[in-house]
Structure formats: C-alpha cells, structure tokens
Symmetry: C2
Subunit: 511 residues, 2 copies
C-alpha cells in the first residue's frame, strides 16, 4: 500500500530516533536547538546560488579591503542576477515616482515650485495617483496587494496577451520567489506529491520541494537542441515516477530559461500545455525574464497564458500559475522584492486559501507593489518622461545583448568548452570538459568537479560563478552558470581574466 | 511507542485516503488543485486578524463608495495595528532619508542648492552614508541584511541593554512575522514538537504552528492579575503536555502583550528565564511593542536579553530569539515589512542554517532594512532634525496614551464588560458578558458568541474588531480585541458608536 510507503518515509525523514536525539542534545553543546534537533527538511535543503562559492566570495571581498595581494582588485558577483550590484543604473522615472510616494510632503502646494526643478510633471502626477489609491505606503495593504495596482497588472496582461485578466486572480508577491514557494506548498498534499522540474533548474525549485517534502520529478533539457524541451522526455519522466507511486501534480517551466537562457517556441508551448492537459498537471510558468529577449524576431516571448487561451475550449479548464518579478528585465530592482502571481483557471476555494496564507504574512511590501505598478505601466509615447525612459531601457537592453554575445563567444573559444547562446534571461551555462586529473583533484578536495573548477576561478580571478551541480546536469557533464552583467566598459577585462584562468587550469590538470 | 503515535497522526492529517481524494478530484470541478487535494496544513491554519470579520469589513468598505444607507460613513479598521491606515503621520526624518535613498540623482552636485530648500542637511548626510554602505537599494543585499545596518542594530541593542550584541547574530527580516515563522519552523523537528504559547495569543503563532505541524502547548494569562503570567501555570502546562508525549522545546512570550497589553515586571521575567532554563526551553521573545509603554515608571520595558544577561553565569547558555519590527512603536511603518531577529546563545551550526534559509528568499526588502536602521538610530540631541523628530514622537506617544485610557474607560462603562488597562502595545482586550439569548442566536448563525457580537458591531457601526475566539480565551468567557488607533479628533465619536451599539445589543438579547 502507498500509505505504508508514506509512513516509512515520513517517519525516517522527519522524526528520527527520539531517544538518540535526546542523548545527542544533552551530550554536545548543551543547547536545545542544534543541527541534530532542528527541522530535518530545512537541514537537507540546498541553495547553490548563495552556497559555498558565494560565501567564499564574500570573505574574499572583505579581505580585499585591507589585503591587496590577491591578484584581483574586486570580486565580481556573477553568481546571481543582481544588475544594480554591478552598477546597472535604475530607470529614472521609476525612482522619481517611488521617491515622491516615500515623501508626500514634497507634494504640498508650498513645495511645488521647487519640486518642479527636480521632477518632471508626469512623475509628480503618477505619484499623486498612486498615493490616492494607496493611502500611505507605510500602511499594511490588502493582503493580495493594493486593488488599484492589481487592476493595472490585469490591464498589462490584457495588452500583452490580447485576452482578459481578472484582478481578483492576481496576487502581488515579495519577488517571484515567495509566490513560487506558496504555490508549491499549496500543491503538496503529502510527501509523495510530485512536481516536475527541469534539469538544469533554478535551485529555488529544488530547495522549495525539499522544504515542503515534495518529490522532484526531473525532466532534462536538451543541451544539443539549444536547451529545448522534448515532450517524449516529459512523458517518460512522468510515467516512470507514477509507476513508483509518486502522485505527480504539476510541471514547472522556466521560460526564458534559467540557467539555460532558451526561449520556447509557440509550437513547443502548445505541446507542453497539451501534455499538462492530458496528464492532469497544473502548469507553473516562471516568466520573470519575459523582457530579456535577445532574438526577438526568431525567438519572441509568448506567455503561457496567451498560448493557453489561443488553444480554445478544450483547454479552458487547464490550471496555470504564472510568475513575474520586478527584479529582472530592464528594471532590475531586486532589492525591492516586488512581483506578482497570476492564477488562471484556479479553483475559487483554492484562491481563498491563497488569500488566507497571504494574510498570515499581512501583505507584500508596498514599495515592491509600487514597482510592479511602474513596471507594468511605464511611460508611454507622448508622456514627458517617455524619451528618457525609452532611451534608458534601450541602452540597458542593447548592452545586455552585446554582453551576452561576447561572453558566449568567449566561452566557445575556451579549450574543451561549448556554450549555447542566450535567447533570453541573464545567464550562460557553458559546458566544460574536465580532465581525469582535475576530477581526481576535486575528489581529493571533497568537491564536485565543477565546484572545484569554479572555486579555482574565484580564487584566481575574483569572478564568482555557480557550478552546474547546483542546478543539476546530465551525469558526467560539467557546467557553470555565469551572468553577463559585469559593466560593459570592464567586460573585455572580465573575459580576459576567465580565458587566462581557464588556460592555466587546463594546463595544470592536463592528463 | 511514540513513533506509532506520530505515524498515525501524520498519516491522517497529511495524507487522507488517496483513493477517495482521487475520486473527488475527478468528480467535482475537474481541477487538479482543489480544497480536497491541497496541502492539508494550509487548509487547517486560521488567522483571525484577517479572517471573516475583516473580509466582511472590506466588502462594506467597497459598498460604502456607492451606498450611503449603511448608517455609518466609513469602516474603521480596529482589527489590526495599522496606524498609518488610520492616518497616523509618518516620522518626517525617516521618510526624508528613505526618499533620498530612493532617488540618489537628487544628491548630485547640480541639484544640491535646490535640494537644500526641501531637505535638512542631516537627512541628506544620513542618506549619503546609507547609500555608501548599501550601494543601490535596487540590489539584492546580503541575505542576513546589509552588514552596516546589522552593526547599527547591534549598537542600538547595546545602548538599550548595557550588554554586547553581535551583528553576526542579527538577521534583518520582512517584518517580525517572517522571523517568527522561520524560527518556529526551525524548532519543529517532528510533529510532536511542542511550543508553548500564551492564551490569549497573537494568531500568527497558532497559524504558524499549524502550518509547520507543531503542537501548540497553551498556557493561560491571568486576566484578573492584569494578564500576568504565573510560573506554576507554565509548569502545569509543560508537565501535562510532556506526559502526553509532546516534546516541548520552546516558549513564546509576547511582551508587551498582544492582544492583552500587559508589560512584564523584571521579577516575572527572571522567573520565566529560570523556568526555561530548568525545563530546557528555547525562549522566543516577541518584543515588537517595546516602545509602546504607557506606564513607564511603574511598568517600564525590559528586554529579555538584558534580563537574561543580568542573571549571570548560570544562564549563559540559555537560548533566546528576540523579534523587533518597524511596524509598531511610534514608527508605524507596517507596509514596509521591516524587522530584525537577534539570536542569543544560538548554536553556530543553527545560525548557518538560518542563513541558508534566508538565502533561499534572497534578502529582506532593502526599504525595510533602511527603516530598521532609522528606527534603531534616530536623530539625537544636537542634530538639526532632532527637535522635529522628538516632537513628532512625543505627539504620537501622548495621543496613543490618551486614547488607550479613554477606550479602556469606555469599555469599563459598558454593561457587563470589564477591561484591563493597556500597560503597553496597541490593543485592549475587554471581556464581555453575553446573555443566553445572544449565545443561542450566535449558535443559530453558526458563529462563536463573540464573533456574533463583533459582526453585529461591524454591521451597525462600521467598527471592525477581532473576536476573542481568534486569540484564544478561557472557555465560556468572551472578549474582543480593538486597537485604540482611530484618530484622536474622531475618538469620542468612535467611543459613542460602540456604547450605542452595545446598549442596543444588550437590550435586544436580554434574557
């Protein structure tokens, strides 16, 4: 019986041997809360984007303040898509509006003349409109997010897709991550609940599945087909998991891909939706990179909502959650923790439960909500701030595109390395060949071979990337993920450092 | 065997009958994710502060926009400590600094002259200092929070307590709630892990225990002794739970109390710490109302950290988590979701795990972090902005104190009602006597008697309070929680409305 399996797994994973633990607890530090007595699922969760490599990078960064002998003058954090950390300039209009919402005293009549020297009129009127809808940004808002902002998001989705969106089905969230975590938890009825995730994947997914005790059901992206998605592979994966008693309920797609950068074709998306429909899977679409699209003619972005709606009546009941964020795109406002979640065809009783769970955390932070409003409703042609807005967005986009191409070329020129181009997102995920000698050295160091490579890169260049093992990869292949976010005027130097390091590493460990 | 108990509980609570669920799933809506198939612990969690009453209040608030026949002209949200929703003015200096961090363009040389007409020099220099430490507020920060801000928080704690604080043991959080949730989850090794909570309690605690499948171990606050805490009662509670096989690990204290408003004496706090030490319990101190102290001479605030440190070597290993927030006090910046968590005597390996779990959510929002910095390091005597800061804080404090006293008097004058005064926090929790007739009417309506009373109050006055049953109370006693946050110039009217409603209600349901 399945229930026996559940019991055995839960008992061993969550409970352990109480007597032994009590003994350990009293024997060691004398503490009640120790690594032995803490929540076992937290202990087992891993999150490589901020794992061992970044922790070492942080330490090096501190060391650099006093020690000039490291051979590099700064640590370059390419482990995380954090554009403003690497000096990407925020969009002026967004910050103007946000700063006025922060300090409404400036909007008083007596300050208007002075204010007009510092702010364009449309930023002022936009802030007034937001404050009228919000009240104070210092107050808790509606737990689903400010109603007027959810209405604006719905209009944005309608403009983007050409299909209606319901503001009541939109939840503003603290970045996309918190939306993803809530939905995955919601889907997890028991510890045999399976959720399909791509390999390689963004480790938020594996970490969250681990935390809620759900089963990751892995499907592989095909590196040789530009990280494309093969439906036969999805089918094999779901069948084999179900045969083992896993109750597979949902499929996660990251599009554009992270760490892989692919942008799905509309045809492929239709196949995926049809697959979910046939297999009775809720579709989770992580679409946070929807504006980071570098080949817009051949590989434009389509939302899963739009493709689903275009497929007609047969699919009218297909459940979909779509996630978006203010952290990516040309906005890059990561620190603000803004995002939204659209629920499509989700049961009303489940929506009520989502609302309840949101209410326990009171509300998403209001600054993040304001940025969602601005991101989804930026200045338009004819607005005073439009020319500046457009030129800033175009400049960031153009530079990202150039840097993506330059870094891919750099990686493809490395000995034994291959790298698919970025169709979207902010990352490249090159494959590297490591010698038996390097693999043996990694083993001696107690590290995965690609982690060993990445650590060597960090120590010799100050460049921090994330080893492929943090995202998952086909066995006996090695990769790393790097953002292409270092500043453009420093980018050649950045590439040179990697090239030089790679040559040395390959030389040192040649078989 | 304990393990058998665990199994049975987990199986029934988390899994249910899979075959039955599959049948339900296909039979009803055709959806995969339904109320029957969702995570059972989410379904069972309750959160009264934003429960049925506030949902009805929201609907009435909407209705008021077009319908003027309700008998009141606005809904007064006294269900939640949300001062700026009820028009409390934010602290000017804090908003000035935050707005400059939001728009660093203003700090450029060419804007300085104009800027000086709108901002005092110390707000400008404070923003410059923050930006120097942060970089851009649009970047993800360190997952534990910006190091310089954690250092400032540590200094604040040292000034407050007279004992050292370690910035590495401080985590900035999204409000206090997220810190509480993480720590409770961390403590929950298995589903027989018990955590002691006061009754009445703030429902974040019961909801979180429910979500992580831990056992609430209740102890009662003594209404007749001004909601004091009796150690003998704590002892009875822990003993009886342990006798039932519950593995009690921690004790939650809310001081000043929510919903009860008491402020603990130092003597009582020593007893509590000694109790935790003897019983091997981690102490969780919710100290978010530490500056809402209305009888500072007779009932000053002491932090548990300070009292613990003052008790000497014997207690040097006592584990303590203390929570603070930017949402309460005279700051009242709820929408910003700022807070911190200090870990005292917590195992280093557990701190690493807390860091890991923080990193999965990337970082607390940077705006909240800035407000933590400002709250813990406000202008001081001699600063240009100090006089205004002081007068604003004093005005808010004075008004809160007056309103607390006025509302307590109002409640104590109601037929059959008694109410302890607020020594601290933002709430009163009056006890009301309900007639058999009222209790029968509530039963007919399918509601708890105090929820029935609170709903009647809402429908007739527009005042939204939370029934005592949402916080827990001794059986067959009835209470409600109300903030005393309505604006002072409207306060008499607010009290009059309640008095009038209460008379009508008592008359209608007189036995």
């Amino acid at each position: 019986m399945l229930r026996t399996i559940y019991r055995a797994t839960q008992t061993s994973a969550r409970i352990g041997n109480t007597a032994r633990l009590l003994a350990v607890r009293h024997a060691s530090s004398g503490k009640v809360l120790t690594i032995e007595t803490m929540h076992p699922l937290i202990k087992q969760a891993e999150y490589a984007v901020r794992g061992a490599l970044p922790i070492r990078a942080e330490a090096l960064s501190k060391q650099l303040k006093t020690d000039k002998t490291l051979g590099f003058d700064r640590v370059v954090f390419c482990n995380i898509g954090n554009p403003q950390q690497l000096n990407q300039k925020p969009i002026t209009f967004f910050r103007q509006v946000a700063s006025l919402c922060e300090n409404p005293e400036l909007l008083k009549a007596e300050n208007r003349e002075t204010l007009s020297k510092l702010y364009p009129a449309d930023a002022i009127s936009r802030a007034e409109l937001l404050l009228k809808n919000i009240g104070s940004i210092g107050a808790y808002s509606h737990s689903k997010g400010i109603p007027a902002i959810r209405e604006n998001v719905a209009k944005f989705i309608e403009r983007r897709d050409g299909y209606p969106a319901n503001p009541d089905h939109i939840f503003l969230t603290q970045g996309a991550s918190s939306g993803v975590q809530t939905v995955i938890q919601m889907l997890t009825e028991h510890n045999k609940t399976g959720i399909m995730i791509p390999i390689p994947q963004y480790p938020l997914y594996s970490a969250t599945l681990s935390l809620v005790d759900a089963v990751p059901v892995e499907y592989y992206l095909n590196e040789k087909a530009a990280w494309g998605l093969d439906i036969a592979d999805l089918k094999r994966s779901v069948d084999s998991s179900r045969a083992k008693g896993v109750d597979v309920r949902a499929l996660v797609i990251i599009n554009p891909g992270n760490p892989t950068g692919q942008c799905l074709t509309e045809e492929n998306m239709r196949q995926i939706i049809d697959f979910c429909h046939q297999e009775r899977l809720v579709l989770l679409a992580d679409e946070v990179y929807q504006t980071n699209i570098y080949q817009p003619e051949s590989r434009p972005f389509h939302s899963f909502k739009k493709v689903l709606r275009s497929m007609g009546e047969k699919y009218h009941n297909q459940e979909l959650f779509s996630f978006h964020s203010t952290s990516k795109g040309m906005v890059g406002e990561c620190g603000r923790r803004g995002g939204y979640l659209e629920c499509v065809n989700i049961d009303e009783a489940v929506l009520e439960q989502l609302y309840k769970i949101a209410s326990i955390s009171l509300c998403p932070n209001v600054h993040g909500q304001i940025m969602v409003d601005l991101m989804t409703n930026p200045p338009v042609e004819g607005d005073e701030s439009y020319p500046q807005y457009k030129s800033e967005v175009d400049a960031i986009f153009g530079s990202l595109k150039r840097r993506a191409a330059k870094l891919a070329a750099c990686f493809n020129n490395l000995e034994g390395a291959t790298c698919n181009e970025a169709e979207g997102a902010m990352y490249l995920f090159p494959r590297i060949t490591l010698s038996s000698k390097a693999i043996a050295a990694a083993k001696d160091a107690g590290m995965a071979p690609d982690a060993f490579y990445a650590m060597a890169m960090l120590e010799s260049t100050g460049v921090c990337v994330v080893p492929g093992s943090g995202f998952g990869q086909e066995s006996n292949t090695w990769h790393f993920r790097s953002t292409f976010l270092p500043e453009e005027h420093l980018f050649d130097d950045f590439c040179d450092k990697i090239v030089k390091f790679h040559k040395q590493f390959m030389g040192k460990y040649r078989d």
